[in-house]
């Protein structure tokens, strides 16, 4: 059995120390990391392989330039067997913003790898489109389930018993036929830290670079229909009364306010 996991390198920004240009946050204020949701997807794949006594191969796929290999090594160190990195000079931000482009690239990878199960994060923490997994499933013409917070794979029955995390503390219990794409919600498991041994092993694992030609994807298949017209920092609308001063002073103000609200322990 083979599991394909998507692992995106995302940009993060500091709390309040950044500037924006028309296209987005200025590059110098960005740092890069593995997408939080993908950490849980990676853990789902790796722990499933371990439960099956490693009769399961876990392959990660990342769309990104060479600098994403740092993040990919981290994924390999957590137990993924090998990695694929898709990149081509024809890919740019406008192309990657259009989910049809991403789905076309990932579908080409899936065709090459024939996974039984594809795991993606629900969304990416930077642009938060939340569309890749389901768009990929529709492109591959296979089953899917979005926002899974529990996954039990029954390989013999070719079925995944999943729970989808709905709003308000409710879960949908769903059976999905394999092959399938599942989008994984945070909290589904406890993502591991890479061990020293894992980090050493990761250095010897393969990261296969693939371009459009390798994937038989024509440049005309790349769509660019969404464009960023401007970027801004939202204006604060705070009307809060802020208590200022040293911690003992603000604590006094808070305590007084809480007593005025009638909140006190008996």
């Amino acid at each position: 059995m083979k599991v394909l996991v998507t692992a995106k390198q995302v940009a993060t920004v500091d709390d309040d120390d950044f500037e924006v240009g028309v296209d987005g946050v200025d590059e110098q204020f960005l740092e890069y990391d593995l997408n939080e949701w993908d950490e849980y997807a990676v853990e789902s794949g790796v722990s499933f392989a371990e439960e099956c006594d490693d009769d399961v191969e876990v392959v990660s796929v990342t769309i990104g330039p060479e600098q994403t290999e740092e993040t990919i090594r981290m994924v390999l160190a957590k137990g993924v067997d090998r990695a694929i990195r898709v990149w081509d000079d024809a890919l740019d931000e406008d192309a990657l913003r259009d989910v049809e482009t991403k789905a076309a690239l990932l579908e080409a990878v899936a065709e090459r790898e024939s996974p039984d199960l594809v795991l993606t994060g629900v969304q990416a923490s930077d642009d938060g489109l939340g569309a890749t997994g389901v768009a990929l499933a529709a492109t591959m013409d296979v089953a899917w389930a979005a926002v899974a917070n529990d996954v039990e794979i029954d390989a013999d029955a070719e079925t995944v018993h999943a729970r989808r995390e709905l709003e308000g503390g409710l879960e949908e219990v769903t059976d999905v036929a394999l092959p399938a794409v599942l989008t994984i919600q945070t909290g589904i498991n406890e993502p591991r830290y890479a061990s020293l041994r894992g980090i050493r092993q990761a250095q010897r694992k393969e990261i296969l670079p693939l371009g459009l030609d390798d994937l038989d994807v024509d440049a005309t298949q790349l769509k660019r229909r969404l464009s960023v017209k401007s970027t801004r920092v939202p204006e604060t609308t705070s009307t809060a009364t802020l208590f200022e001063g040293e911690a003992d002073e603000t604590a006094t103000d808070l305590a007084e306010m809480l007593r005025d609200e009638g909140v006190t322990a008996e």
Partner: protein, 318 residues
């Protein structure tokens, strides 16, 4: 031919709020286009849903009487067929958990561009222009769509719900659902086990977020709660890490709470969290980041380290 088509959402015999919010968003957009607004409702008690959705500004309602609850394969097929029949310029879907489960598939099947999780959708005379958030709300981007038609999903809570009755015509739409292509079997719903505490009953909640940094530090929060005779609740990261059980989670996927006083300690106030606590009477926030969105809805606040303020506060209350 229509201009805007909205797909309503329901669960367990009730239309969800986002359906009425989408009607507001759809009507605004249709007005800018000088056009019509169609609404579709799929599965469940479609006739009574259609009655409730007959709101001011809705021109036509399409009902698809097939099955009871949401199944994304059924929705994807039905919405794709409705799109072919109605031919809207903009298809507006909810960015709810179920929206996440079918909107990208509909866009893929229709070959249309997809913009998700928008907080504003407008028509600038030539195309759709949307506003989206990035980096958890720290940045807003204006995203335009360069195509003749688009699929756009709208964030729940971004628009006020439509509530004025109207006189829409109701049309039954005969979707042909190919059962071989229904690859998921929705077996039912289950409530998440609540644990031993009911946070929805509490008058005072001390709620803890990512700022607590470590499970060991939770003692501080429980001490504060004790000093206030309050109940401890949490935002998502604390529950995801397994430090508190799911029954204590406040927010979109957790509980909606309306206490007299809500103390948000080390909580940034992501939109999913705010959805669960904005109804609290008095909101107090302690956070190191002065730009944290929690201060936008707080009545009182302290911009400081919780590890400095909370121990002092416990002492002052003691």
């Amino acid at each position: 031919m229509s201009d805007v088509l909205v797909v309503a959402e329901h669960r367990q015999d009730s239309l969800r709020d986002v359906s009425f919010e989408l009607v507001t968003a759809g009507r605004n957009l249709a007005d800018e286009m000088d056009g019509t607004l169609d609404v579709a409702v799929i599965s469940g008690a479609v006739e009574s849903f259609a009655e409730a959705l007959s709101l001011d500004g809705v021109d036509r309602i399409h009902t698809v009487d097939y099955g009871d609850e949401f199944n994304h394969d059924v929705y994807t097929q039905a919405v794709t067929q409705l799109h072919d029949a109605v031919d809207p310029t903009v298809l507006l879907l909810p960015n709810s958990v179920n929206g996440l489960d079918y909107a990208p598939a509909v866009a893929t099947r229709l070959g249309l561009p997809y913009v998700s999780d928008t907080v504003d959708v407008e028509w600038d005379g030539e195309g759709v222009v949307t506003v989206r958030e990035q980096f958890g709300g720290k940045v807003e981007t204006v995203v335009g769509v360069d195509d003749d038609a688009a699929v756009v999903s709208v964030r729940p809570g971004a628009y006020a719900p439509a509530d004025t009755d109207g006189t829409a015509s109701v049309v039954a739409f005969d979707a042909e659902i190919e059962t071989d292509a229904v690859l998921t079997d929705v077996r039912g719903f289950e409530e998440v086990a609540g644990g031993d505490v009911d946070i929805t009953e509490a008058d005072v909640l001390v709620s803890v977020g990512r700022g607590i940094e470590d499970e060991e530090n939770l003692d501080l929060i429980f001490d504060l709660a004790e000093a206030l005779d309050a109940t401890v609740s949490a935002s998502r990261p604390v529950v995801d890490d397994g430090w508190l059980d799911k029954g204590r989670q406040v927010g979109q996927s957790g509980k909606v709470v309306t206490p007299d006083v809500y103390l948000a300690i080390g909580i940034s106030g992501a939109v999913q969290h705010v959805a669960g606590m904005k109804g609290a009477e008095t909101i107090v926030a302690v956070n190191t980041d002065p730009n944290a969105p929690i201060f936008d809805i707080a009545d009182y606040g302290v911009v400081d380290d919780l590890f400095d303020v909370v121990p002092e506060l416990i002492e002052q209350l003691g």
